[in-house]
Symmetry: D3
Subunit: 224 residues, 6 copies
């Protein structure tokens, strides 16, 4: 929540769904699938608690689509809104993710959002999520390294840091790129998610229930 | 399992993952997300139990991608293999699903499998899963009705019944279409899934671990 | 400017580029081409005048790409940001434009923004821009009419009113759709443009100069 | 036929169409066009002779589409079924073909099968077909070499050996890749073709006559 | 040849490959496959005979790709050049073909030429080729009928008559469309093929041998 | 006009719209937008002056779409027709443009013409237009250099010189490529534009007014 708090206004009630149940970090479709049920319960609780909108606190946007089925208030995934913003500001974006092995799932995510024509590359710093926290400065340097390659070798025109552990580093990365003579805008996904959620609340807009219809009521076994 | 048993050989150990935990039926992304964790645990148990391959017993293929990350043995989703077979046998296929509100998720599924250019339409019989069981004959008639429309109006050249409740009805549907002068092949997804699983086992082939890498070991909270 | 003023905050200096030179309305690529040079001069003037961001006051986004080449401050086209927002909130959107003969240019616009996979249809109310002003209520009814067809016949899940003359009508259209039993969200492009411009200013973000490089200085003949 | 015989069951009557008329090997669209008429006559003869299904014994799948027009029994092209299987088991596949100059026709083939989004690359060992037979072990080494490049440089997650001369080498290639630390599954196209043909026969399925309609009867000049 | 002769200049030596061997007409992939070998031999003979360029006298462009492999002089398929010209003159084109059952192969042809985004529809007059010759006026009326539907129902902006039997009817069809208030340009494929061949000869241009490499010399059995 | 004059016949009245108002050269979307209004006025004047067709004398095809709205006679953009011809003669083409910063707009242009699947790369010689004129021979060498890279590194099968300053150099570039062992055809865009315009005039064909409808008459402010 802290990553998002920097960007919020006092007047809007945003709930950032943090992932305290499920796996300790999300680095695979497997992790995301285990995390999703708790996201769904928290999103429903947020709506029942009168929240104006919900942010999913993970760049995998785990549970985004099913959560939108479950509620009427806006559910914002930081990756989805960051990718659409990047696509509006530049011809091609690159995502810098955590592990090489997560690259395929990020590519599937881009494909799911219909933005394959706008992606230059997905690259990885190859540092596990749980180790990132220990060395934030080293992390920023590693992101600059891969982002520079994305600009020079892959033709990226804008960069999206692809993990919540990288939240807050956008301006440091942008400066690092400028020092290497390959400046491009760097998206701050936490900020984009908050701004988008606030804008949706202000405009009285939410996701379409024709795309995300409310599931039929039925017996669910195995969850408290 | 029964739907699959008709098609299996005695010599291969196939495990069909039935969904007895989670929601009583899968008619939404929400249902699928709640079903996925139990799929994952069952798939892992199948591998540990020495099974040769695993079938996911739902046309939403819930948990297919994360399950493949978790194990080395083939994990077969009936929708994925049916759609690829349909694409190989005809220029365009249509899927007949359950509810109109599940059409968007089937379309996303087709998109995720990279087969959008091969789909003529997704149509729905508009009968809830749990009611289908009561009137199988009426169900077959309803599938014929929508399949005929898919052929005549949408240009479908082959039909995929899109719900496990429709399993076993392929030849009845194909005959119904012939009687209406719009005969096309009708896929039996349970059969395709079994044949594909057996073929993979025979050939010693499985999914690529570069596409579905084993997730890093980590603490998981909230599951038994 | 008035259409945008309703949505702006006092703290941000936004310049809405109104089209008082060039053609009296924009209903063709020809009109847009004649309007573009004045847009460019006004956008440059806005940057020199210390504006934080610029909005182009036309759903054809005339001059969006060349204007971004000319300046560093964010230049926001209401169509581009509305289409990306619609794509993030729903599987498929429809645009309701003015004349049937403008449909091809809207389709080219969608293609240029890389969102062809997300568009259900482009429809027209077939009322010339300059006549719209005289009968705003009739206009709203005509938009509801076409939007309802987009939902029912084309599978639209969200609606974008495609002309500045329709600005301010979003909630009236949404209510009209609800009364006809085909409720979907309706985007208010003026609001989206303002929110996006404010968000970009707040985040210190702008378009990528790698996508929109500053043109080389050179002699220009024929303009004051 | 020998390449296929290893994988067949005694109970199914499969006819593998070998190319003894036409060019001595298929390395171009020109070769394939000259080979096609004899394929058609053999496929018709196979149906008249009571065969259950037909395999085309060439990775160019020459005559696949016209042959399907000519008969009702399944006609299986090893390339088509191998590519669909590869697409179901991994995000991206690479094909290792014979000559560099055949790469464009393999790419056209992939495009024709609607699988361009799933292909990482097409590479060539640059050994003519007729020389391959003399040195099968050298051939396997050359395939490993290019397959390793496909994995490391092009991001391939699964490999398809793209010539009948490479049939039988899949496991040797897979082991070679493992020794170089870039193990991925390697498809055995002959096995896939047999398994798919047997599965189709078992399920009573064949290609759609709406996609491959029986040609009108007419005079044909110039063939015996 | 007669259809082309109207459009040629005396100064260029064009050879129109007529299909006197193979099937009596081309209405299927099967017919086209049987026709192709003779096309290849005639194209090679044309080059050896000093022709400047070759036209394939069939809208299926049978043998176009293998013929280009075989020779250095331009080989022009009337369908390919007509479709590219249509794509340059309008947003979407429709092809009016002969039989409904040839529609799938025309669609595959468009896909092979990379122009799927530019096609509005493929429609058929449902008159066999060999019957067309008997009633040319009736044929023109039938083409107008389907072309009008393509314009009104499918959004076609330009029409391509899709069979050599329709050659010479373009202006009659265009006038027929004008009388029905749905005028659009109608391509005359024979004229386009001649103009393109002459232009290529004038410019000293031909197809790229990197796309259509000369096939390796080898033994060919079964042809005179 | 001179570049085109070499290729024209005496019998056709072609008007080549040269850009003497607006910017001194076209190297950006900004330059093109400033050039467009004068193109439109000249194209209308050409029609009124009885010209048979109009050529736009710039590889950015500035004003092509709005100009077609304004008149009935054919308006030919050298880039559009060159790209379609290249797509018909080879699997993939590369464009050699002027400055690296113009690469994104050329890519958008290719996308707008619907030919993204046919482009191998866009490369730049990195010489400003106004400096090119001083050293034509050096320019030809620089084009050969980049074209050779396009062939070897990007898989280009045909080359399009992407600036009017390169007009007349096609055969010199083609010979340069042959000397480096990477011969491919090189398009002469000026020649293609003339040949296409003449062919359209000969055939009585022009662009579709359904794609490029005549703009409604209205007041235009700020132009003489």
């Amino acid at each position: 929540m802290e990553a998002y708090g920097r960007f919020t206004r006092p007047s809007t009630q945003l709930s950032a769904v943090t992932l305290d149940k499920g796996p300790a970090s999300i680095e695979s479709a497997y992790d995301a699938a285990l995390a999703a049920p708790d996201v769904l319960f928290k999103v429903r609780a947020a709506q029942e608690g009168g929240m104006d909108a919900v942010l999913i606190d993970c760049m995998g946007d785990p549970g985004l689509e099913p959560a939108r089925e479950a509620v009427f208030i806006p559910v914002v995934g930081p990756a989805q809104v960051s990718m659409h913003l990047a696509a509006a500001l530049a011809h091609r974006f690159s995502v810098i993710t955590v592990l090489k092995q997560t690259i395929p799932s990020v590519q599937l995510q881009v494909q799911g959002y219909g933005l394959m024509d706008k992606v230059a590359s997905v690259r990885a710093v190859e540092i596990p999520v749980l180790e990132m926290e220990r060395d934030v400065h080293g992390l920023a340097g590693a992101v600059v390294e891969e982002a520079a390659r994305a600009v020079v070798e892959d033709g990226a025109h804008i960069i999206i840091p692809g993990c919540t552990e990288m939240f807050g580093l956008a301006s440091e990365v942008q400066e690092g790129l400028a020092r290497r003579d390959c400046e491009v805008p760097v998206i701050e996904p936490a900020a984009v998610a908050v701004k988008m959620a606030e804008a949706l609340v202000d405009m009285g807009l939410s996701h379409s229930k024709r795309s995300y219809p409310t599931p039929p009521e039925k017996v669910v076994v195995g969850y408290p």
